[in-house]
Symmetry: D2
């Protein structure tokens, strides 16, 4: 059983929570906590080895925690996700493989693509693929995507190299539910063609960033980042190719953290308890 | 105030400890714990923001902890160290600079060298240097080193590229008090000439390892390790040169961890709570 | 066109080779060379932008190079490989995905497994899978594998987490044609259960190594290596899980280097010109 | 002898250069070249094992190279540098130590500080320190710094955590001669307080960048960059502390590359031949 808590900090919180668990004879397998002293916020993730009635322990916790506490008990072991793609296969294929072998920590409900390129790979893994053409009318396109989404269960939408910028309206429907992989070390090179920007600037490292999507393009809370060395010998095309490897790795890592309920969001940034 | 605890694990330890601290109105600034389920051992490092009478809190903790508990309260903020060297300067100079600017987390009592090469740099930093010639009689040499050590206060001996193998007798006098930097990614390339070994084997990474010294050469508990890429273009001399950079960095990191009371030793390995 | 040369070193080789190419109006796109002064060997990889009759340029090169020169002109753009597996999917799935999207730099002729576990994923990608049961008779098992191999074209055999030790007889049939991924930073933790060994030793980094297979177990020339940080909080199972990610990445990188004709072997090590 | 060439690219350059060297019985120890096809530029760095009359070989090279060729023969084995600092010691101390042990690849002529903090460490290494107070009049301050500089020989000015922004006038006097260490992964977090910016943005990696100084703040050609992992548990002060380690390492690496004549500048970026 996993218990996740986020609330105002005060003296004695750890004692109160661990005392409650000890009293109920729960064995703590792992406990991670963080206090942001500036924001006066307390974050905790617990793994305990006894599964009891969820609501009771939640009620008991609520009695000892500040009023503003967000408590999640035993969050859905198996999250449900919908993946949005364009043409590039690397992130999607990695997700489909992990999904197929039950190591993703979530199950892929369907894939939505604004190109048909990736239909076949989905079919091979028996995952429904929905092609939604992105014509001139952005609102209509997004409405069709939303319609497709709403026909499925989902906890998160994963933008696995989905190359369309989503509108304010779209994003605000799914607060902290959309996870994107951006092909640069944000905040460097936000927006279009980050590898071309990196090439022009002559950087010696290129990166990838997985983040929650908010209204401001590439400005949402960062979940995971990684870099690889670069140098003058790489063309833009070489950077694109090399970058795919870390894009795949960073998105996989970020998804694992989110699906394991290790990521807390506040003040446009994340606490990752691992 | 830092509190460090190592004992047999049992249900309720975190609750008991944090409860005691809450009752005494200590504010927990940071708390890190680890349980080794295989060994059934519990490790904890606490930073709290109230300094009270050390013995009382130790007694109170002892009342609620298993009998075998090792408790250290407010360990000497400023550790004392003696550094042993041969000819290479890089690790020693780094230690002397940090010592001089009070960022080492320990104070260097003296330096002992089996060559005179590094005498001058010590003098420039007003750190006593003792030259002990390593002749044919190893026992005599070690006895002289021990005599020099015993004329000083020390918590740890740091082998900062000290190129002599210490005898069983020597090592057993300073259990888990000697920290060495070995110029390979242990357990690969233990013993002499690790860079030559690495070159011959054609590895694609070279490393450095900081570890406690035990009877078995290069087999003591590992504190920190790091690597850098290598390739065919590096000669042995190039590897030696490149390796010095990570040797310096790894030893500095390991010393910081040890001096901050973050390193626990058991079963010939370490728990590092950071 | 790619030109690969390995020969005894002597003054003027670069001048002679680049002079010949200039005379024929070949434009050098990239040129990488290495000299091992100890072994007195010269290695070169050239990409030039004119495709002419292969044999002529090879003859011309042979006229200006030492007698022992190994010259490969325009090596098969598309290598052919056979993959051997046991039960773990991560390396195989990565290879199958790249194969499917034509980014592997080789085409997978078939997969041979000593368990049936991975048959289905192969089927989904229309890649032939052959199950060869590993009974008590090792010689018979290997003979069956060899029979299967000989029914296909191949340049390399890739052991993608194939958990059987191959005999001297088997290995000697495919000199420098078998590529293995070993789940440790070799030469540390050769042999069985490297993650358990790493756990017991308490290392702070875990690694993976891709290498050519020779007679001596895990002692062949190393092509690529990578590590990730580890610490006390990881169980053996955690290390196994984390390790899969770098095993996949390191094998993919090594295969790309080999298929691009960037890897030269001599004295049980490699020169990798990239 | 080191030969460095930068010129317009054309077919046959490598042949012509290596032919000339072979004819003169020079043995090429290492040769690195790069062609930027977009800019049609050729870069080469050669190490050869015969030292002959510099001007002759330069003339001979000039005969076979395009008119715009920049040729440097046997550049001053020992560069001369002046270091500018404010209060932070880490980069300066590293430079002083390497200078003292003759491993810097340059000799420190003097140190100029706008605070007196680092005077003593310079004195300990017998390196002249000049204190120039930065009052309200920036022009006057810079003039005094320039006066001090002009009293010494120098090839490069190194800003080793010099916390003043230099004027256009100052910078334009020393084109591609000023090397700065910036405490972020540029172009992310240019300008003031990069660690605070990094903290606010919640990045998962922090970095350092060594670059040539040009008119535009933190926009000059990048020489070297490096990152270390960061997470929510780091305060701004923690990031500052952790960052010092990579600032020191990155500046040291960049200086080594520049002093070894491995860095070529064009189009506001660098080619680093190593």
């Amino acid at each position: 059983m996993i218990i996740v808590i986020q609330c105002t900090d005060r003296v004695g919180l750890v004692a109160a929570i661990s005392g409650l668990l000890a009293q109920k004879q729960f064995n703590i397998i792992s406990m991670h906590e963080h206090v942001d002293n500036t924001a006066n916020l307390f974050f905790m993730r617990l793994e305990v080895d006894k599964t009891i009635d969820d609501e009771r322990i939640e009620d008991d916790l609520r009695d000892i925690l500040p009023n503003n506490a967000i408590i999640k008990i035993n969050p859905a072991a198996q999250k449900k996700i919908i993946v949005l793609v364009t043409k590039e296969y690397h992130c999607l294929a990695d997700i489909l493989v992990r999904n197929y072998f039950n190591t993703l920590g979530a199950s892929v409900q369907c894939v939505i693509g604004n190109h048909e390129t990736l239909q076949d790979i989905c079919k091979r893994f028996d995952v429904p693929f929905f092609y939604v053409e992105a014509g001139n009318d952005k609102a209509e396109f997004e409405q069709q995507v939303i319609n497709t989404i709403q026909n499925h269960d989902y906890d998160y939408l994963v933008l696995a190299k989905f190359m369309r910028i989503l509108s304010h309206d779209f994003v605000s429907r799914f607060p902290m539910q959309i996870i994107n992989i951006h092909h640069s070390f944000l905040p460097a090179f936000a927006g279009a063609s980050p590898y071309r920007q990196a090439y022009e600037r002559g950087v010696k490292l290129i990166g990838a960033t997985a983040h929650y999507v908010t209204d401001e393009l590439d400005e949402g809370p960062i979940i995971a980042q990684q870099i690889i060395p670069a140098n003058h010998s790489l063309t833009v095309a070489d950077m694109v190719k090399a970058g795919k490897e870390i894009e795949t790795a960073v998105l996989a890592k970020a998804l694992k953290l989110v699906f394991d309920d290790r990521v807390f969001v506040y003040k446009n940034k994340t606490v990752v308890l691992e």
